[in-house]
């Protein structure tokens, strides 16, 4: 949300939000960089009554006034019992969060625009089963989840799709109202798992008006230039190159091999993409990377600032996709709120 694009009330709301954000940042300054794990000690757990808490407080107050007015000792007893329960709820709710260990797990990379699932691992070591914990980032909320005593639980938080790039996770909030719902106990986390968003693949072949021969990618040699050779399958050959027709006929696995050593090398070129803007090019390259990997090709990727030598396999594909995601991109804090 750009500051100059918002109007009056929205701007003041924005200012309040920023003020609030600054306040929280100041409060949590000791835990500004949790890195990949955080221990929820007493120094970072906060507590405030909820609306239900104020309601119960009001009800207890009315009960107290009634007890005084009617000089009814049993009413006094029950009122004070509820006061005791309400007071102890501070302790119970606090204990529901205290001592938990929260650590990051690798965030599965997604393509731009795809929803993101953030996994966080919670470990319990104090021997108390925890109930109804909720993980929040901004307005995004996980389903309440328990953590078993002396056990772990992987919390999942669905986040909306993002544009291509590399992101830092904004401040997270782990909270609970268990057991009575009259108090909320929470802790702010600044865990920093890396979030990588690949470009959304776009098939360059379908780009209108630019259907030239070399448009779909710059091959050193077209596949047609050298006829395929067929050789028996060896362990490690990509499944995409298996000649299934031959398998159906003979019952033996064969793979297709390109004629010369250089012949099956495919260079995916930045400059060859039929688009002018960076993001579209990256998206097209992304599509090409995926296609080449699916075909089991050996391929390299050439970007203006770097080149990845030809190789094949899942690891290579992911390297390429990461390179596309990081292209001219510095990690930014993701904005978890729905668009402007």
């Amino acid at each position: 949300m750009r500051p100059d694009s918002v109007t009056g009330p929205a701007r003041s709301r924005g200012r309040m939000a920023r003020l609030r954000d600054d306040a929280i940042r100041w409060i949590t300054r000791r835990h500004a960089h949790d890195g990949d794990q955080a221990h929820l000690g007493r120094d970072r757990i906060y507590i405030l009554p909820t609306r239900a808490g104020y309601t119960l407080f009001g009800i207890i107050l009315v009960m107290l006034l009634g007890s005084i007015n009617y000089s009814n000792n049993m009413a006094f007893l029950l009122t004070f019992l509820l006061v005791g329960i309400g007071h102890n709820a501070m302790w119970y709710t606090h204990r529901n969060l205290l001592g938990l260990q929260v650590s990051t797990l690798p965030v599965p990379a997604v393509f731009a625009g795809q929803p993101l699932t953030l996994p966080l691992r919670l470990s319990e070591t104090a021997g108390r089963a925890r109930e109804a914990l909720v993980l929040r980032i901004g307005t995004h909320t996980s389903a309440p989840f328990p953590v078993p005593a002396q056990g772990t639980h992987t919390a999942q938080l669905e986040l909306p799709g993002l544009a291509r790039g590399v992101y830092r996770l904004p401040r997270q909030r782990l909270d609970t109202r268990y057991p009575l719902g009259i108090l909320e106990v929470w802790s702010w986390l600044t865990l920093a798992p890396e979030i990588v968003v690949y470009p959304a693949p776009i098939d360059p072949g379908h780009t209108a008006g630019d259907d030239g021969e070399e448009a779909a990618g710059a091959h050193d040699r077209r596949e047609g230039d050298a006829p395929d050779q067929i050789r028996p399958y060896r362990t490690g050959d990509p499944p995409g190159r298996i000649v299934w027709k031959a398998f159906a006929r003979s019952g033996k696995l064969h793979v297709r091999e390109f004629a010369s050593g250089q012949g099956d090398r495919l260079w995916l070129e930045w400059g060859a993409m039929p688009a002018s803007d960076t993001e579209t090019r990256l998206s097209m390259l992304c599509h090409q990377v995926l296609a080449a990997h699916a075909e089991g090709r050996v391929f390299g990727l050439r970007l203006p600032d770097q080149a990845l030598e030809p190789a094949q396999g899942v690891v290579h594909r992911d390297h390429c996709l990461h390179a596309l995601a990081r292209f001219r991109s510095t990690p930014v804090e993701m904005n978890p709120e729905p668009g402007p």
Binding site: N73, M74, P179
Partner: protein, 684 residues
């Protein structure tokens, strides 16, 4: 399809509704006896409907349906009570509100609100009943409500036993707070608004007014009003009329007591015939003292008024004790030929428009019996016993002229109706009559040898003036419902008649069954007595005493702060100690305890040999072995056993066996230093 996808979300949010549908009826159950049946029906119906909707996965009724229902219910409540405020109407409204809240429950917030109101319902129970049974029951209700509240917020279904344990623990942990606040929270005297005492005494206790037409539902208050110990002789049950208020003035509907009568001296009775007793009176916030008929000697701070009503010099705000004497057979004005003319006028006053039909009836009696006042009295009593008069605690409301309506139409009521109607009949017949309210009956407590009069034993009767005989007691309720007069000792009076009290004092001559029943009653009252004297009787006066005993002043806020601080401080100390004691036990495995013991044992001779917290056991044992070569072998074995115990995968049996072995090694390390073994008295 849409429905199916919407439903699960709805249901997850309604987790805990099931339990709420159990907890709330439990909380509301004691009200069934105090509320009109339609309220009960409504609540049951609403809850059953919600349970059905929940069971079949249907959504709650729409807002429109709910508002129509709410308006109807509010109207019904108003129609029933004429108000929506006050104890009964307020409670009724609360119950209806909860029922509807449950019915329309859409989300978690609705359930939470209903459960909070459930706590409120539990408190309103105490308007009607403060017995220890209700206390135990409301603990159960609170427990269920709390469990439901936990389930609502749990985010998943928690196994019932765990839920029960957790809710129970919460109540248990809250008990110390409850007790401290109960005794220390500053109590203030009297009501903050309104006159709840009157509202309460209108139930069964004694009010300065008698208004038989207005109370449609007399509630039986089982709490004790008065306890009486007799010095020597226990009067027969029939003679035990405890007069409290005497009402001479009647305005056609309402009888009222007069506290401004002149003071008179009681007539001294001959000492042989006198009953001496000590009474313990629960606070009434009024000045009257119940006295056994007829008072002949009074406590010092009380005086006898011309209408034979005994008033204390100040209201009874806390439980008091007083001693007095009674002469059973000497009614007021005995032997006086005529009644004081002014008094006579007052005791004959009837508003001219009052009770025309009754007057006509009495005129007939006069015509039949002439001047014979006794015959007129008999005629009136016979009317009550012959006609289909009923004794009931739920009499119909009396419209128009209360006396005529009661005598000729409804013919159902309790003592106040009969006493009032009888007095009107007598006055119509020109016989001076007044209404006396007080207590009659009661239960003899063999364990403590005292008579207990409950608020439910409140009674109203009449006194008629007969020249030369004085004010003679007539109990018209006895004509209709003699069992009420005799029911002080249930089932026993009919067997043994008049002589009950004589042997009751020793418990002789009772069958084992009767004795057993008495035993149980006694235990019941024993518990009740403790409950009443320790819990229910605690008031500003007792709080002052308690504070004074601790050298504090309950009227001084600093004292209150000190008491609160001391209470909660010691509570915090206990809690911290408990937490502190628990933690090491969790942290240290048994093997570590043995290790600590060994370290202490070795360090006794050389402090430097104590194991440092960061020091691995192997490194430590080697370090010690260098300084104490004599222990080398033992330490090596110990370190091995320790490591095995801590880190090897052992079955529980092996672990126990191995631990025993480890402890054996501890004792193998000699206590003394070999070169110069010193006796160690502390470890002899």
């Amino acid at each position: 399809m849409r429905d199916k996808t919407a439903r699960p979300a709805d249901h997850t949010d309604l987790r805990g509704l099931e339990l709420a549908l159990v907890a709330l009826p439990v909380a509301a159950l004691p009200h069934v006896w105090h509320q009109p049946p339609w309220i009960t029906a409504l609540v049951v119906l609403a809850i059953a409907a919600r349970a059905w909707l929940l069971g079949t996965g249907r959504p709650a009724p729409s807002l429109g349906v709910m508002s129509v229902l709410a308006v109807i219910a509010g109207g019904l409540t108003f129609a029933q009570f004429g108000t929506v405020f006050g104890q009964e109407a307020g409670t009724a409204l609360l119950l209806v509100m909860i029922a509807f809240k449950l019915l329309e429950t859409r989300n978690r917030r609705d359930i939470v609100i209903a459960l909070f109101l459930g706590y409120f319902v539990v408190v309103t129970t105490y308007f009607f009943d403060q017995s220890i049974l209700i206390a135990a029951y409301s603990l159960l209700a609170t427990w269920l409500l709390t469990a439901a509240l936990i389930q609502v917020h749990a985010g998943r279904v928690i196994p019932r036993p765990r839920l029960a344990r957790q809710a129970g623990a919460m109540l248990l942990h809250a008990l110390p707070f409850m007790l401290i606040l109960f005794f220390v929270f500053p109590r203030v005297e009297g009501p903050l608004w309104g006159d709840p005492q009157r509202e309460q005494t209108a139930r069964t206790g004694l009010s300065g007014e008698l208004n038989p037409g207005d109370i449609a539902n007399l509630l039986q208050d089982e709490t004790t009003a008065l306890r009486v110990e007799f010095d020597r002789q226990v009067p027969p049950l029939r003679a035990q009329y405890w007069r409290a208020l005497v009402m001479t003035d009647f305005d056609g509907r309402r009888w009222s007591a007069d506290e401004n009568r002149s003071v008179i001296q009681p007539t001294a009775a001959d000492t042989d015939n006198v009953i001496r007793y000590t009474a313990t009176l629960e606070p009434t916030r009024a000045r009257y003292l119940p006295m056994l008929d007829y008072p002949s000697a009074l406590p010092e701070d009380a005086e006898l008024r011309a209408n034979y009503q005994v008033l204390r010099d100040r209201p009874v705000t806390s439980r008091i004790q007083y001693s007095a004497e009674a002469a059973l057979t000497t009614p007021p004005g005995a032997g006086e030929p005529t009644l004081d003319p002014q008094e006579r006028t007052r005791a004959l006053h009837l508003p001219t428009s009052a009770a025309p039909r009754s007057r006509a009836e009495v005129a007939l009696w006069r015509a039949t019996h002439g001047d014979d006042d006794r015959a007129i009295i008999q005629a009136a009593l016979q009317r009550f016993s012959a006609e289909p008069y009923r004794y009931t605690l739920q009499p119909p409301r009396l419209e128009d002229d209360t006396t005529d309506t009661f005598l000729f139409e409804t013919q159902a009521g309790y003592c106040e109706h009969y006493a009032s109607a009888f007095a009107v009949l007598m006055r119509a017949a020109d016989i001076p009559t007044r209404v006396v309210t007080g207590y009659q009956g009661g239960a003899w407590q063999a364990r403590g040898e005292y008579l207990r009069l409950r608020n439910a034993d409140a009674h109203a009767w009449n006194e008629v003036w007969l020249d030369g005989e004085g004010w003679i007691r007539v109990d018209p309720t006895a004509a209709i419902a003699p069992e009420r007069i005799e029911q002080g000792l249930p089932g026993l009076a009919s067997d043994t008649g008049e002589e009950i009290p004589g042997f009751l004092r020793r418990g002789e001559g009772l069958s084992w069954l009767q004795r057993a029943r008495f035993g149980m009653d006694d235990w019941g009252d024993f518990v009740r007595f403790r409950w009443e004297s320790w819990v229910l009787a605690f008031d500003p006066e007792r709080q002052r005493e308690l504070f004074a005993r601790l050298g504090l002043d309950s009227q001084d806020w600093r004292s209150v702060l000190i008491a609160l601080g001391a209470g909660f401080g010691s509570l915090a100390l206990i809690a911290l100690t408990w937490v502190g004691l628990r933690r090491p036990r969790q942290r240290h495995a048994p093997a570590d305890r043995v290790l600590q013991q060994l370290s202490r044992r070795i360090a006794r001779h050389d402090r430097r040999l104590a194991r440092q917290a960061h020091e691995p056991v192997d490194a430590w044992s080697r370090r010690v072995a260098r300084a104490r070569p004599d222990l080398r072998e033992s330490l090596k074995a110990f370190a091995e056993a320790y490591n095995r115990q801590r880190f090897a995968p052992l079955t529980p049996e092996q672990r126990r066996e191995d631990l025993r072995h480890l402890r054996g090694l501890l004792y193998a390390v000699p206590r003394g230093k070999p070169p110069a073994p010193r006796p160690d008295p502390a470890h002899a």
